[in-house]
């Protein structure tokens, strides 16, 4: 066993999270904290958690953090970053927070090319409030507020946030990943690192959309949730770099 590899990064507090078994948030917190630690930016990082399951993230991240009203993370982050340009600012937002009530804020932050990083957790439901339909809920998916399954004619279609933002010139790095396997978790960490590096390099708005299991509200086992991400969710939300127009970036991904 390589004991040290599993050690808690200094950017995480020694706390037990409130997340459900099988939830992706703990993993994504950990990856984000590791990246902040490894990039040596912990001392100048300010995080903005959402209203949603991750609302208590300031109990877990050991960096400066401020609450934001529901959906307003990108506006709050804009205020922080503009007031303190030398800081590294990230928001951590769910799909209800970012893609429903906070749609205007994320679009305009991206469009202004705000030099911030968004960790966008897409689990296709409102988790904290008990599994209601989210803008990202898949067609046919049953939630407490789409009991017959989401129907395009009745409830509209699932929103692809990365693709939506990709038309904006200020959005320079957009990648979609998942946290349902060792390989995808490693890929996610790399994406988060790229996103923070984009900010460190002063290149503009970066966002990583992470497909994340919510076994509790999906009413699936953890293993079945991982499989569902591969077999169903990632068909609607294709994994990969959606946009990378940083100077020196290899190419614009599909």
């Amino acid at each position: 066993m390589e004991k040290r590899r599993a050690a808690r990064p200094a950017t995480m507090k020694n706390a037990v999270t409130h997340y459900c078994p099988g939830c992706g948030h703990s993993v994504i917190h950990r990856l984000t904290a590791e990246v902040i630690q490894e990039l040596g930016i912990a001392g100048k990082t300010i995080g903005v958690p959402p209203a949603g399951c991750a609302v208590l993230a300031y109990f877990y991240f050991d960096v400066d953090m401020t609450e934001a009203p529901h959906g307003r993370g990108c506006a709050v982050a804009t205020g922080i970053k503009r007031a303190l340009p030398e800081s590294i600012v990230f928001t951590y937002q769910g799909d209800g927070d970012l893609a429903a009530i906070g749609t205007a804020e994320v679009i305009h932050a991206a469009n202004r090319g705000e030099n911030i990083t968004v960790i966008f957790v897409n689990n296709a439901v409102y988790g904290m409030t008990g599994g209601q339909m989210a803008p990202t809920t898949l067609l046919g998916m049953k939630t407490t507020t789409s009991p017959a399954g989401r129907d395009a004619g009745r409830e509209g279609n699932p929103i692809r946030v990365c693709e939506l933002l990709s038309s904006l010139d200020g959005a320079v790095y957009l990648e979609r990943t998942a946290v349902n396997s060792v390989r995808s978790i490693r890929r996610t960490k790399k994406a988060i690192r790229e996103a923070f590096q984009t900010q460190i390099d002063g290149k503009g708005f970066s966002l990583v959309e992470i497909l994340s299991p919510c076994p509790t509200n999906w009413k699936l086992s953890s293993a079945a949730s991982w499989k569902w991400i591969d077999e169903v969710m990632s068909k609607q939300y294709p994994i990969g770099i959606i946009k990378d127009i940083r100077e020196g970036a290899a190419k614009d991904a599909e």
Binding site: A42, V63, D64, M65, T66, G79, L84, A104
Partner: protein
């Protein structure tokens, strides 16, 4: 170093903007809405000149939340809007109050409800003085009546916001925003860099334990404690920050109570009363919250009628009645919808009430 004493002819909106600049406000966020665009435009120009932050936000919601973010770093931050836009800002103001962040918010009131119109009105008194958003909180509300006061009170607003770590509102109206009067800059300009560091601000945790600022307190006992702490702060503000002006109150039997633009009209009407040997005075609340309750109550020792004159159908009158504790007659002359009555109109209303009072006391 800028000159201590400078005199300029300024528009009200510009006086607010220049006061912010000279208070070391380093971040302004705003969204266009009439009749306050001159503040936003002035700030766009001056913040660019001074190398500070100006953003025209995508909405009033975004603007107030940008203020929240900037304030969390310790920066002096401001936003301005007018009535419909202020409704949108209430969510953020509630959070800012709960998170105990200093900020300055300007409301240049217009006629309402709904879109109403763009004429001067005073119908946001309830919204301003009762918190406005959800939850148990107050905002300090200052109501200037001259362009000089727009300048002075905006400067004071930044100091109060920092001192009490709370949102402070300047409550003006379209008339004050547009009018031009001379302004004396009788104070020293502060650069953002001159301001002392705020020991609670988020600037990255280098060399110290990390901090967080929040309003979510799930444990009801702790949330109660937080509310008690806010309440005690509001009590301190009520004790220390009341501001009002009395005019011709010596020997008066009747008084008009009015603030802002209404108080200017009232002062002109009271001057006419003086000419006619009528014993009428004026009480002008400058801080609307905290309200000058004691001054109103003390006036009831000799004032037999308090006439509230508001450019609304009676909002401040509730505070006047509460303050007067039923010890004297309180009545309303309200003009809503953006109508600004003339001093002569108000004088007639005062005269009727005054003559009635004279008949009754005979």
């Amino acid at each position: 170093m800028s000159k201590i004493e400078e005199k300029k002819l300024m528009r009200g909106a510009e006086a607010i903007g220049e006061a912010a600049i000279r208070s070391g406000c380093s971040c302004y966020f705003g969204y266009p809405i009439t009749p306050q665009n001159e503040i936003t435009e002035y700030m766009a120009r001056r913040m660019l000149q001074t190398g500070r932050v100006f953003i025209q936000s995508e909405s009033e919601l975004a603007a107030i939340n940008m203020v929240l973010g900037a304030a969390a770093t310790g920066a002096r931050a401001m936003t301005s809007s007018s009535s419909p836009g202020m409704s949108l800002k209430q969510e953020g103001i509630s959070f800012i109050a709960a998170m105990e962040l200093p900020s300055v918010i300007v409301n240049v009131m217009r006629g309402g409800p709904g879109l109403g119109n763009i004429a001067p009105a005073q119908s946001d008194y309830f919204q301003a003085t009762r918190g406005g958003g959800h939850g148990d909180y107050r905002t300090i509300v200052l109501a200037p009546a001259t362009v000089q006061e727009l300048y002075n009170l905006t400067r004071k607003a930044f100091d109060l916001a920092d001192e009490y770590r709370t949102p402070v509102m300047i409550l003006a109206d379209g008339m004050l925003g547009q009018m031009m009067e001379p302004v004396v800059f009788n104070d020293k300009a502060i650069e953002p860099g001159d301001l002392p560091e705020k020991p609670w601000a988020l600037r990255g945790a280098e060399g110290r334990p990390s901090r967080f600022i929040r309003s979510l307190i799930l444990d009801p006992n702790l949330e109660e404690e937080h509310n008690w702490r806010l309440y005690r702060k509001y009590q301190r503000i009520e004790r220390r920050e009341v501001q009002f002006e009395e005019f011709n109150m010596q020997g008066a039997e009747m008084a008009v109570v009015a603030y802002g633009t209404a108080a200017r009209i009232a002062k002109a009407a009271v001057k006419r009363c003086i000419e006619k040997n009528m014993r009428v005075g004026l009480i002008r609340p400058i801080s609307l919250w905290p309200f000058p309750a004691k001054a109103i109550l003390e006036s009831t020792n000799y004032i037999k009628h308090l006439l509230c004159f508001e450019m609304s159908m009676g909002q401040m009158i509730e505070d006047v009645k509460l303050s007067a504790e039923g010890k004297t007659e309180v009545s309303l002359y309200g003009r809503p919808g953006g109508v600004v009555p003339t001093p002569v109109e108000l004088f007639r209303v005062i005269s009727r009430a005054y003559n009635k009072l004279a008949r009754e006391t005979k």
